[in-house]
């Protein structure tokens, strides 16, 4: 997987065909550039390659200064969220075969967070919002020593969807409200609040609901569903936000 550019899934019987794919990448070097600029690269790719493979091929064979974050390369670590053809996706989960390669593929950093260099943004505002919703279990009861808290299968299922979040920021940085108002908590923070608000073991839902009832909270959401569409983990983000809104109206989870 390391040099996955040349690794082929051995499923197909026919000789494996490669394609020349043009990538237009929005570059920004803070030491030199005043404004971002687009640069094109031609890369030999296979249909089953990922966009991350293309970025690696560029960095490793053409231009070592191309800068992006990545780690696990299979959609679990959340490092490589970026805008690919105008859509927020993980580069390691976007396969060439799913893109129209008759045209250049546009790759740029996610929006709404300060651009640092090439495809890297400052993630600190994103994590600051995350921390603000108290994303951790607060339980008043003391479990029996050496025992787990009991939770029914049904209660565990209620918040299952939002436990999948990998904090990649694809949702938050796809949100038009977040683009125009960086103070808005954004979808990811709300998802992580949801994960605890609806956890039957937690006793701090009210605090989180109060936080999200703030003027920069859930009511800023305009239900455009960009976040749901952007989520690489398939979380129904907009639905989670709606459930938080309903809980605020009810005054309880």
């Amino acid at each position: 997987m390391s040099t996955a550019t040349l690794d082929q899934a051995p499923a197909a019987e026919a000789p494996i065909q490669s394609f020349t794919v043009t990538f237009l990448i929005r570059r920004f070097d803070p030491d030199v550039d005043t404004e971002p600029r687009w640069q094109d690269f031609d890369v030999e790719m296979y249909a089953t390659d990922r966009v991350l493979d293309a970025l690696h091929k560029i960095k490793w064979e053409q231009d070592g200064s191309l800068t992006f974050r990545r780690s696990c390369a299979h959609g679990i670590c959340g490092s490589d969220a970026m805008r690919i053809n105008g859509r927020n996706r993980l580069a390691c989960k976007t396969l060439i075969k799913d893109l129209d390669i008759s045209k250049p593929i546009y790759v740029e950093a996610i929006k709404g967070l300060p651009l640092e260099k090439d495809l890297i943004v400052d993630m600190e505002p994103f994590f600051a919002s995350f921390r603000e919703v108290q994303p951790f279990l607060v339980a008043n009861s003391t479990p029996e020593p050496g025992k787990e808290r009991v939770q029914s299968v049904a209660n565990r299922a209620i918040f299952d969807d939002t436990t999948k979040c990998i904090l990649c920021a694809a949702c938050t940085s796809s949100c038009p409200v977040f683009w125009t108002d960086g103070q808005y908590f954004g979808p990811a923070a709300i998802v992580n609040a949801h994960r605890f608000i609806f956890d039957s073991r937690d006793d701090n839902a009210q605090t989180r609901l109060d936080i999200l009832n703030d003027k920069e909270g859930v009511w800023r959401c305009r239900t455009t569903f960009n976040c749901t569409e952007a989520c690489p983990r398939g979380i129904e983000v907009t639905k989670a936000i709606a459930e938080v809104k309903q809980a605020i109206m009810r005054g309880k989870p």
Binding site: A9, D31, F136, E148, V153, T163
Partner: protein, 603 residues
């Protein structure tokens, strides 16, 4: 960029930032953050990580975390200890394995109490599933011991630990890349006085003075081409320790996980087989029945990986090139796949275009886990030889070798390891720094060596591409030092590595900038990979037997008389000399045997 730091006392001298913490933890995966949760409340603690904590590879672990909770069937920590010892082919230190198995129960309960959303039984208790090598009553049948959260157990552990670090207000220095451990001689004894880190965002150097340093830097699977490991798993921490002249233990033992997506190496959890999936060869035969009649597909990973490679070598591989076997989940049904194995189901669909609900999935072994690493005792204290502790230096998780995994780790024992020994490292470090010890003085200009290294790399006019050297290393390691090894194959890789180390001196870093210079980072990482690959191969050549993850075709049997002992490798002489034998010295360390005498390993 760091997050969440409250570190007002930073001073800057000659462009180098100086910080002071009682405890510095290097690495923010499971072991590092578990240590931080212990250390944070008791001492001024910083966690330094080259990634944002939630990017750490703990999050990629899938299947479960072993603990004899006996929530769904009879189980005991003693059975778990035995399985761990036998699974590790009797190279496990049995006192450590006993601690691992005993403390497993509290480790799982700790995580649940911290909020981890485990799957539940109908009674609402933590659910458990079967996993390779975990058995009832010393091998009689598979037992349900793995506590799990779908196939996202590692993700949930990483998130839960991070959430609790946020709750405790732990200081994180994210995307700070620790490049050196600073040692100072005190009364004739070398001990840690801090670490040197490179701030990726600014390119500036930071020195963290500390009373205690905990290494929790993970593994180094990127010495191989086909691996489940992240791009960032380049063994920096293990490499730093090596360069300090401290020993590395059992480096020849690397685990190849049987079920990597063929050609890609992406992990498909053993939990699939725990839920009933079956490995089949081209003719559809359940071949593990032949090799491990009692527990079949749930034999330990070393055995299953070898059987798979053997099936392919003997012409029974599937696919157009007969170069993989098949993981058959089709009889599990869509519901089990969607609820208990959703992520791997999606991986197969996304990356191979194969839907496990309807078709078997092509799989082959993938480099997964380093059993060896930085030797520690059961208190997570780093050893400078077979018995002597380096005061104030700790290691935990994959970078460490306690050794609870011996020559082959059982699935679910690593998520356990990071929690049990991460906790021990944190707790013992707090006790140490609060026992009246003072800060060890830093040497003059402690960052000098690293500054010179970085300047030399960044300013070099070399011509060798980083990626080309790395690719050759990885290709050759896959060919010569993978599941099956011979002296010939290892000798060949030795020569290749020697040549690559020479070429590395002429490396080209194209990015000359200071900010987010990931090109420079990759150059440094490659240096660690080359160092560690050399130790792996050198240690492997020296072990003329087959045991656990180390299978020598030319010495196919286990040889307890000569080799039931740990390898200890030391850097001695000129680290840059071409011949590994000129700068690696090997020694042995006895295995701790308590209740289980070595037996033939049959499943």
């Amino acid at each position: 960029m760091n997050t969440q730091t409250s570190d007002a006392e930073t001073t800057v001298i000659d462009g180098v930032h100086y910080h002071q913490f009682d405890i510095v933890i290097v690495g923010a995966g499971g072991a590092g953050m578990r240590a931080a949760i212990e250390a944070g409340p008791g001492a001024k603690t910083a966690v330094i990580s080259k990634l944002y904590p939630t990017r750490s590879h703990t999050g990629a672990a899938q299947g479960g975390m072993a603990a004899a909770l006996a929530n769904v069937e009879e189980d005991s920590w003693e059975w778990h200890t035995f399985d761990t010892v036998k699974g590790g082919d009797y190279l496990v230190d049995q006192d450590a394995a006993e601690i691992l198995a005993k403390e497993a129960i509290d480790a799982v309960i700790d995580l649940e109490n911290m909020g981890l959303p485990f799957n539940r039984t109908p009674e609402g208790k933590i659910d458990q599933r079967r996993f390779g090598g975990h058995t009832r009553d010393h091998g009689k049948a598979p037992v349900r011991r793995a506590c799990y959260a779908a196939d996202r157990t590692g993700h949930m552990i990483l998130q839960t630990l991070f959430q609790n670090c946020v709750k405790l207000g732990i200081n994180f220095f994210n995307e700070y890349y620790v490049l050196d451990l600073v040692m100072t001689e005190v009364d004739g004894v070398e001990q840690p006085s801090g670490v040197v880190a490179y701030d990726l965002a600014t390119g500036e150097l930071h020195v963290f003075q500390a009373k205690a340093v905990i290494f929790a830097t993970g593994g180094f699977g990127k010495i191989y081409k086909t691996t489940s490991n992240a791009h960032t798993l380049t063994g920096d921490g293990v490499g730093i320790i090596w360069r300090k002249g401290l020993p590395l233990e059992d480096m020849e033992f690397f685990q190849f996980h049987p079920t990597g997506l063929a050609g890609l190496g992406i992990l498909l959890t053993e939990g699939a087989r725990g839920e009933g999936a079956i490995l089949r060869n081209a003719s559809g035969e359940r071949f593990m029945e032949r090799y491990a009649p009692t527990i079949k597909d749930l034999a330990p990973r070393d055995i299953v990986a070898r059987c798979m490679v053997q099936e392919v070598a003997e012409g029974r591989g599937a696919g157009p090139h007969k170069d993989y076997v098949l993981l058959d989940c089709t009889h599990l049904g869509a519901e089990v796949l969607e609820t208990k194995l959703p992520d791997i189901t999606e991986f197969a669909r996304t990356y191979l275009g194969v839907d496990p609900v309807y078709e078997p999935v092509p799989v082959m072994p993938t480099a997964h886990y380093a059993m060896g690493g930085i030797p520690t005792n059961v208190a997570a204290e780093v050893l400078r030889d077979n018995t002597t502790v380096v005061p104030g230096l700790y290691a935990a998780g994959e970078c460490a070798c306690v050794s609870v995994h011996g020559s082959n780790r059982l699935g679910t024992n690593s998520l356990l390891d990071i929690n049990v020994f991460g906790k021990r490292a944190g707790r013992n470090a707090v006790e140490y720094v609060n026992s009246g010890v003072e800060f060890t003085p830093l040497p003059e200009d402690p960052a000098r060596g690293i500054r010179e290294l970085l300047v030399q790399l960044r300013d070099s006019n070399g011509t060798e591409r980083i990626a080309a050297i790395r690719k050759e290393l990885q290709d050759e390691m896959d060919k010569g030092a993978q599941v099956f090894r011979t002296d010939e194959s290892l000798a060949h890789v030795t020569n290749v590595i020697a040549g690559l180390r020479e070429r590395y001196k002429n490396i080209a870093v194209q990015d000359k900038g200071k900010r987010f210079n990931t090109d420079l980072l990759e150059a440094v990482e490659l240096g660690f990979l080359l160092d560690l690959a050399e130790v792996v191969v050198f240690s492997a050549r020296n072990r003329k037997e087959s045991r656990g993850g180390h299978m020598r075709d030319d010495f196919p049997n286990r040889d307890d008389e000569n080799y039931m002992q740990h390898t200890m490798a030391y850097l001695s002489g000129d680290a840059h000399s071409a011949d590994a034998a000129d700068h690696i010295r090997l020694d042995w360390k006895p295995v701790t045997v308590t209740r289980y005498q070595p037996m033939e390993r049959k499943y």
